[in-house]
Every structure is written in structure tokens, then in C-alpha cells.
Point group: C2
Chain length 282, copies 2
């Protein structure tokens, strides 16, 4: 299938690399292009390993747009040295995003440092880091996309747990510099998230829309239990219509961390994603 | 130690039965009385097994107050037959609470029925059930205490995830009929929970205050991973002061689901709880 001609209904579908992490970058590029998918979300580690310029060329040559780079962040350390190191690492992430020609760097805030019981203070340190990084990113054509993660990650991964909290921080900066990620897996349960989606959309701050379904039981560590679209209890189409209603017109990125998907043939997984996306989201 | 004379600082401490579930009811009564603890929270299944009247007498004879009965609820079924059965079961729970002379029946809402993606609708069914049960409970001197559980339980256990949601439902009823539970394990991450605690306290709706700490990694199924007081990242004393500041003067119930605690000698666990409570909460 030639690049640029998308099967009808798949124009907005982007496959996040982590969803088919059994694939190398060349396999991802070839597999998505062959399936008629026009965009992908990438992760830093495999891009660094392959080389940023080389990855950018591979995507370009395969007719693929990079919708986001995952992920910078982890801003919650207290020690000045660790904080300086986090800022350096995030400047590198911004450079990588610019190298990949994606305008969106996803940021995961970081959890509470060991022994720290002041979650409000930790969130404040996230905002402080953004104040340093947002101008740097903007100069390189990259927008920082602050992602609220489900509250079950609040202590060890991300002190920003709701779209409301993410917006409270993002709104301290110009919308073209700092946006937010709306991810159905993290937000589906929150009765306030619809109103905050409207608030984010009205200000043009929805930088990224990701979809995964919620299934139980959660696995130990709760990181790798995300559900294939349609397998869980999230009203995915309702959420897609909600971000659209808020004025979002960007990609719909499928990001599913699932050992069950990783154990299967990548092309089969992508075919299933297309079918599920069409049935439950698009 | 004679009943009624509490060691200083332990006047408000209540031990929830599930925290030391290695103990039988007589062991719980004897162990708490011996440790100078004046109140306990009980669970329906062991009370039913022992006999409600007999359990009530045991507690009375041991000088123990029953601060709450856990738990009724599970109101989210759609089928009329299942809904009627849930109401019957909750009337029985109210009768049991009255029999134990506790004024507080803790309610866990229930999760989303299989295939249901309408969480707002499920929350509405919780409110409908309360409208039937609240007057029945009030006639028997029992207040229903709606408990928001952490959002990680939203799909399979409790569609009410925040104190704000719980209050939105509770406030449809008189405060003396329907209150809420403030449990640090479920609410610690929520930046809006402090304001809702004030809102609940001002209306006299804090029916129960429970404490447990948050520790990671979470175990598979995420039910049994609660932390001993002081082992995690929750500002427990800050929360106790917060409910006090909201006007709450009732018991502080220690409810920790932890296989590590259950594997130990009950008296040793209770002694540790007293030490941790004094250091981190009281």
C-alpha cells in the first residue's frame, strides 16, 4: 500500500511502538506501512539504540509520521544534582523529538522520592522543571505533553494523577509550549475528566490522545495489564467523540502495554488493532 | 487492663478485625482488651458465623465498642432480580449492625457489571439503592457510610472512587442517614480530597475514618497490598489532623489488608499497631 493513501477510517490511527515492542524499528516501519497505517509513536530507548537520525530517515522513507516521543519527565527528585541530571536528560529528549520531527514529547512526572510524604511539594517540582524546559522545547518546535497517569502510579511513577492536576500545571505556560495527554486507560474512571477534557480542548492543550482498555485483574506491579481495545470496560468511542468535541483533530495513538500482545506475531497484532480501532474507536 | 481505662493516646484507636484476621472473634476481643484498645471494626462474615447476638455480647462483656460493620453495598447490578437480592442482603447487614450496636455500616458500591461501560449509570444505581435503604437503616439507628475506594478498584469493586463522588451521592440524603468513609489508603493521592474532607466534616458526614499506608509494588489483584502505618508514603498524621480540623471527633480505625501481618502473631501485630499509631497518627 503506497504511503499517503490511507484506508478509509484509519487516517488518525497511530500505533505506539510499545504496543508491538516485539518488532524492531525497521519491522515497525515496514509492518505499519504495509497495514496502511500512517503514523507511529516512538520510545526513546529503541530510537537511541537505532540512532535518532537513522530512525527519522527510516520513518520518512516509510511514509510514516511520528506522532509522539515517549518519554521524558521524572522531575520529582529533591537533590539538586539529581534535578540537574533530570533536566539534562530532558533536554536530550527534546533534541531527540526534534530530530524525529515530532512536535510532541510525552512527559511522565515521576513518583515520590523514598521517604517523601509531600505529594503536593513533588507536583510543584514538576512545574519548576517545566519552567526550565518549556522554552528550550519551544525553540526546537517541540511541545511538552504532561501525562496524568492513573492514581495507582502516584507513589512510584507519576504524582500527576488527573487531567485536572495536569492542566493546573500546564496552564502556567503558553498552550503552544505545554499541553496534556488524554489517555483513556488513565482517566476513564474520573467523573471530572470530561469537563477537564473540554477545558483542555478549548485552550488547544490536548497534545496527544492515547487509547487502551481497562481490564482486570491487574497484574503484580500494575504496569503491564492494559487491555486490547474492546476487551475492557472503557467507552472508547465515547472518549474519542469527547476529545473531538473538545476541538481535538489530531492522531489517535494506540498504546497498550500487554505481554499477551507482545507474545504474538506483530502483523497479526496490528491487524487486530485496526479491526478493534474501527469497531470501538474510529 | 480494665475496660474503660485506656492508655493515654489510645482513646480513639479502633482495630479493624480484618487487620488481624488470624484471630477468631474471642481472640480479637481478648487481645484488644488486653492491649488497652477500646474499640474494634467488625466484618459481616465472621460475625454471622459466630452469631450476631453472641458477638454483640462478647464485645460488650470485653468492654469493646464496635465502631463499624464492614460491609454492605454492591449495588451496581442491572437485573431487577439481582438488585432486589442486593437490597435484601443490605437490609440484613443493617439489622446486623443494629444488633452489634454500631451506628455505622460501611458500604462498598460495587463495580461495573460485565460488559457495562457506563460508569456514570452504575453510580446512579448506587444512589437509587441508598434511597431505599437509608430510611430503613435510620429507623434502626444505623447510618450508611459510603466508602470511596481507590480508582484502581473502579471496574471490579467500587465505581465510587473519590470523596467528591461519594459526597455527591451522600448529599442527596440527610446527613444523619448517609455519611462517607475517609480512608487514607484510598484518598491520599487526591489533591481535591482535603477540600472534600472539609465539606464532609462541615456537614457532619464523616461517618468513619480509616487509616492504612500506601506501599508498592502492588500485588496481583491489588487487594492485599496495604501497608502498616509508617511503612509507606501517606502523611497519616496530616490526614488525622485534617479530619479533626473538619470537626470529626470519632474513632480512628486501623484497617490494613496485609498477608504479611496475617502471618504473624496477632498480639505482636496489635502491639506494633499501637506503636505505629502513636508515632505516625495519634
Amino acid at each position: 500500500m503506497s504511503a499517503g493513501v490511507r484506508p478509509q477510517g484509519l487516517e488518525r490511527l497511530s500505533v505506539n511502538q510499545e504496543t508491538v515492542k516485539q518488532w524492531s524499528l525497521p519491522e515497525l516501519a515496514a509492518g505499519c506501512a504495509a497495514a496502511g497505517i500512517g503514523s507511529v509513536g516512538l520510545w526513546r530507548a529503541p530510537v537511541q539504540e537505532y540512532g535518532v537520525e537513522r530512525a527519522a530517515r527510516l520513518m520518512r522513507d516509510s511514509g510514516l509520521t511520528v506522532t509522539s516521543l515517549c518519554r521524558g519527565g521524572f522531575f520529582t527528585a529533591r537533590e539538586p544534582e539529581l534535578r540537574a541530571r533530570a533536566l539534562d536528560d530532558n533536554r536530550a529528549a527534546i533534541d531527540e523529538a526534534a530530530g524525529l520531527a515530532t512536535g510532541t514529547l510525552v512527559l511522565v512526572s515521576g513518583g515520590l522520592p523514598t521517604g517523601d510524604r509531600d505529594i503536593a511539594g513533588a507536583r510543584e517540582r514538576v512545574a519548576e522543571a517545566l519552567s526550565v524546559l518549556a522554552p528550550y522545547a519551544a525553540e526546537r518546535g517541540v511541545r511538552l505533553a504532561l501525562e496524568p497517569l492513573h492514581p495507582m502510579y502516584a507513589s512510584d511513577r507519576c504524582v500527576v494523577s488527573t487531567l485536572g492536576q495536569a492542566l493546573d500545571i500546564a496552564e502556567r505556560f503558553p498552550a503552544e509550549q505545554v499541553g496534556v495527554v488524554v489517555d483513556t486507560y488513565h482517566l476513564w474512571w474520573d467523573d471530572l475528566a470530561p469537563a477537564h477534557t473540554a477545558r483542555a480542548g478549548a485552550a488547544g492543550r490536548i497534545a496527544c490522545f492515547q487509547v487502551a482498555d481497562w481490564v482486570t485483574p491487574l497484574p503484580e506491579g500494575v504496569l503491564l495489564g492494559r487491555g486490547q481495545l474492546g476487551d475492557g470496560c472503557v467507552d472508547l468511542r465515547g472518549w474519542r467523540e469527547r476529545v473531538d468535541g473538545a476541538g481535538y483533530t489530531g492522531p489517535v495513538e494506540v498504546e497498550i502495554f500487554s505481554p499477551a500482545l507482545w507474545a504474538r506475531d506483530g502483523a497479526e497484532v496490528v491487524a487486530e488493532i485496526i479491526e478493534r480501532y474501527t469497531r470501538h474507536v474510529g
